[in-house]
């Protein structure tokens, strides 16, 4: 038996020669941000070269899924928007646990207790409004007011991980209620694919209110767009942009170094400079954001949302057509 295992190990090694100094990263970070992150890591750890494939979370997962199906995944490290996709990969046994990773300063909800994936930042979802909107919203329920009828645009959980988490968290939050999305649909809210589309509609004035991730709205505001962004009083949902190493990696050593860099104070300060709320406590948030304190994060159970996701997506698709 032991020799059989040895044989398997040897053949695995033969099939996948280690590639010191070469890492392949699949990510859903915007191009510019991904390039900055990689450059900062390569500077901190010279001798490692990182190639990047970037697309939306769903496309990244589709590409990876097809590679699994064909039996030869190319990625070493994965950095995608939401923990749900990571949880799914973990359950399929695709992720390499990294028990040695230092998680001091990270709140327990931001990383997997099994240490397979680690949140790198907090991307919250709140309400963006056009300056010409009939009122400034403070609560998620404001979007159901008569004055907001036909004026709301939201991202689809079929396309956006952040939207999926938001729908899941709302459904189990008694302050908002499981029928929130049904009411939105009745008030003629429309759904577009992703957060970028939501922002376009609100910036250009086609819709007065949008449900969108914080950094996009605040970046647009900083560039002079006639929009404002609020963190509603019931609290906001957040995705953590977790990073993980694939079990099939051919360069676990450098992959671990990449993860450690993202979680280090230097990596977290980079995230703040890029306009994100750092996941590590004690690192100052970017200008324009309230400091982590006043932002009230809704509690949520990633495992349960993952389990319910098909049903929730079906429900959303029935309500909004996409």
């Amino acid at each position: 038996m032991r020799s059989l295992l040895m044989l398997m190990a040897v053949s695995l090694l033969a099939a996948a020669p280690a590639r010191a100094g070469e890492l392949t990263l699949y990510t859903s970070q915007p191009n510019k941000i991904a390039a900055e992150t990689v450059a900062a890591f390569e500077k901190a750890d010279p001798g490692v070269h990182v190639s990047v494939f970037r697309s939306g979370t769903t496309q990244v997962m589709n590409k990876l899924g097809a590679e699994f199906m064909a039996g030869r995944p190319k990625a070493d490290v994965l950095l995608i928007a939401d923990a749900m996709s990571m949880q799914a990969l973990k359950q399929q046994g695709r992720l390499l646990p990294d028990p040695g990773q230092d998680v001091t300063g990270f709140a327990p909800g931001t990383y997997d207790p099994g240490r397979t994936y680690f949140g790198t930042k907090l991307i919250t979802t709140g309400i963006v409004y056009n300056k010409a909107a009939p009122f400034v919203p403070h609560s998620w329920k404001d979007l159901l007011r008569a004055k907001a009828r036909g004026q709301v645009v939201l991202p689809s959980p079929l396309y956006s991980g952040a939207a999926m988490i938001t729908m899941g968290a709302f459904t189990e939050n008694p302050a908002i209620g499981a029928d929130y999305f049904k009411k939105l649909a009745a008030e003629r809210a429309i759904s577009v694919a992703g957060n970028g589309g939501v922002l376009n509609q609100v910036q250009s004035g086609s819709r007065a209110f949008g449900i969108v991730v914080d950094f996009m709205a605040l970046n647009a505001k900083a560039k002079g767009a006639p929009v404002g962004f609020v963190f509603p009083r019931e609290g906001v949902t957040a995705v953590t942009e977790p990073v993980a190493i694939l079990k099939t990696t051919r360069n676990a050593k450098d992959a671990r170094a990449f993860v450690a860099f993202l979680l280090s104070p230097a990596g977290q300060r980079l995230a703040a400079r890029q306009g994100f709320i750092p996941a590590r406590q004690g690192i100052a948030p970017p200008p324009g954001f309230p400091s982590a304190g006043p932002i009230h994060l809704m509690t949520m159970d990633i495992g349960r949302i993952l389990k319910d996701s098909t049903r929730l997506k079906q429900q959303f698709s029935d309500l909004f057509g996409g």
Binding site: T24, P30, N31, K32, A35, S51, V52, F53, R54, S55, G56, T58, Q59, M61, N62, K63, G65, A66, E67, M69, A70, G71, R72, K74, N130, R149, G150, Q151, S156, P157, L158, Y159, I190, S191, V192, A193, G194, N195, G196, L199, N200, V202, Q203, S204, G205, S206, R207, M216, N219, A220, K223, G224, A225, P226, T310, K313, S317, F320, G321, G322
Partner: protein, 539 residues
């Protein structure tokens, strides 16, 4: 008459190798009775119905628009024909999401045109979200396709025939009717391609049908794949099968209705429009202004703003977006890669299909191949891309196509063969066999005969075919979205990534750069081929 069999055989085999293994592999891996059950669901039935309806309505509209332009530009003395033809073809290079976005703004609640007049619709009741908008924008996208296919056939009608009708007392309308009757293979080719393009289109329904809560087959497939993950790839493949069958039906309808006629290209007839010349010119000008100038102006304005929603004035307008995108190495690479891919796919497909379409007059196998090539054009790009990953991830004969431009090129050959076939097929079908028989009787061997008789006659159609493929491939997104890799980006992906990141103004700037590059290339080709009447706008 002896024939060179190996030439069409070799070309056909190459096409088949690029086009079918990915789809067959995917079907084999994913289709099962359980996944086929999705076809019986109410949502699938609604989507099928909607897709067929949109396909028919948009094809009728595109047929009218494309035919009017093809007749005016090919057969009449309309002023500024070349310029008009050039501008009409530009409709093909404006990415559909740009046109849709511009019209959403133009006809939306904050419309710069309608709002001052108090005519802007209330939010939530925009006319474009839903079937009306989908049919309208699909028709705009497809009109140049009908135009290109029909034009190739109209240009092949000998002037003598039209002039004979004129001498026999036929009026202008009768003469045009006669010309259209003679050009029927081209018109049917264009209409069937328009139908196939409509049911396979994803970009326009994604922008207009999803917010309009109007499910169609392509949006439903995309939804299954993106929303429910690879676990539902079987359902997506089953729905794609439905699309493939629809496309085959569209293509065979064309084959049944097209009667072949023998014509030999020569001088093209030119009808005098007389007192209709000015009204026709005005109509053409207004159509182009509405369909081309308005969206382009909106796009350019967007590209000059720092971010959407800012009031345009001297302080806010600037070239910052252009500077930042051109400074990025990845963007420059993406432009170059898309250029190489689009040119490569256009030239290779035109070359291979000349031989196959020529053989299709006689060989049933060639006709079957041409019909089957509809399938990779109409299945969603995402489905084709997943099939390509399954086949090409591992090295084949020591060559790994994955993570190179090669895999995208192969996928494009599969994807766009149906586009290239239309102008070539129509012209080859009407080529008078007597020409070749005469050459054979004079002792010309098969290969020289092909090179000296067939090729020169097929050249304008081949250039039309390559142009169609080039224009479609240059902005392509859904296939390359999964197949690109670090260092091998494409333009469509670069624009899409910017849009996804909420950088709408930079995405607009990149679209402007891409369009300027395309126009420069088209003008360059026009100068290089001056006086040869080869390019579709040189009629």
């Amino acid at each position: 008459m002896r024939r060179a069999v190996w030439l069409p055989l070799g070309c056909g085999a190459l096409l088949a190798l690029a086009a079918f293994p990915p789809l067959i592999r995917l079907a084999a891996v994913t289709l099962s009775p359980a996944s086929l059950a999705v076809l019986a669901s109410p949502i699938a039935r609604a989507a099928l119905l909607h897709s067929v309806a949109m396909g028919i309505v948009s094809t009728v509209l595109a047929g009218v628009l494309g035919t009017v332009f093809a007749v005016l530009l090919t057969l009449t003395d309309l002023p500024a024909r070349r310029t008009v033809a050039f501008l009409f073809l530009l409709l093909l290079i404006v990415p559909p999401q740009i046109t849709a976005q511009a019209w959403i703004v133009l006809l939306g609640p904050s419309s710069p045109l309608l709002a001052p007049l108090g005519l802007a619709p209330r939010p939530g009741s925009e006319p474009l979200y839903g079937p009306g908008g989908v049919a309208f924008l699909l028709a705009v996208e497809q009109a140049p396709i009908v135009y290109l296919a029909l034009r190739a056939s109209l240009a092949a009608i000998p002037a003598d025939l039209i002039e004979a009708a004129q001498a026999a007392g036929a009026g202008r309308a009768r003469q045009i009717g006669l010309a259209l009757e003679l050009a029927r293979p081209g018109l049917l080719g264009g209409l069937s391609l328009s139908f196939v393009a409509a049911i396979g289109n994803f970009g326009t329904p994604a922008l207009l049908a999803i917010p309009g809560r109007y499910p169609m087959l392509t949006t439903l497939i995309y939804q299954r794949l993106t929303g429910f993950g690879l676990g539902s790839i079987g359902e997506a493949a089953a729905l794609a099968l439905l699309l493939a069958l629809l496309a085959l039906a569209g293509a065979s309808g064309e084959a049944l209705m097209a009667r072949r006629r023998a014509t030999a290209p020569g001088r093209v007839a030119r009808l005098a429009l007389g007192r209709w010349r000015r009204p026709a010119a005005a109509m053409v000008g207004m159509t182009l202004a509405g369909l081309l100038a308005a969206p382009l102006a909106a796009l350019l304005l967007t590209a000059l703003l720092p971010t959407l929603g800012v009031q345009p004035d001297a302080a806010t307008l600037g070239l910052g977006n252009f500077r930042s995108i051109l400074a990025a190495g990845a963007t420059r690479r993406a432009l170059l890669d898309s250029l190489v891919l689009a040119l490569g796919a256009g030239v290779v497909l035109a070359a291979l299909l000349v031989a196959v379409c020529h053989a299709a007059r006689r060989a049933r196998a060639a006709r079957a191949l041409l019909a089957a090539l509809e399938v990779p054009y109409v299945v969603p790009g995402l489905v084709l891309a997943i099939g390509c990953i399954l086949v090409f991830l591992r090295p084949i004969a020591g060559i790994t196509l994955y993570n190179s431009l090669g895999i995208i090129l192969v996928a494009y050959l599969a994807r766009f063969a149906a586009l290239a076939r239309r102008p070539l097929g129509a012209v080859m079908a009407t080529l008078d066999p007597a020409l070749e028989e005469a050459a054979a009787a004079a002792g010309a061997a098969p290969l020289p005969r092909f090179a000296t008789v067939i090729l020169p006659l097929a050249l304008p159609a081949a250039v039309s075919a390559a142009t169609l493929v080039f224009l479609a491939a240059f902005n392509e997104l859904t296939v390359s979205a999964l197949l690109w890799s670090a260092g091998h980006e494409t333009l469509g992906v670069a624009v899409f990534n910017l849009e996804q990141a909420g950088e709408a103004t930079r995405a607009a700037a990149l679209s402007v750069v891409a369009m300027v590059a395309t126009v420069a290339l088209m003008l360059g080709a026009g100068v290089a081929l001056r006086g040869r009447r080869l390019l579709p706008w040189q009629a």
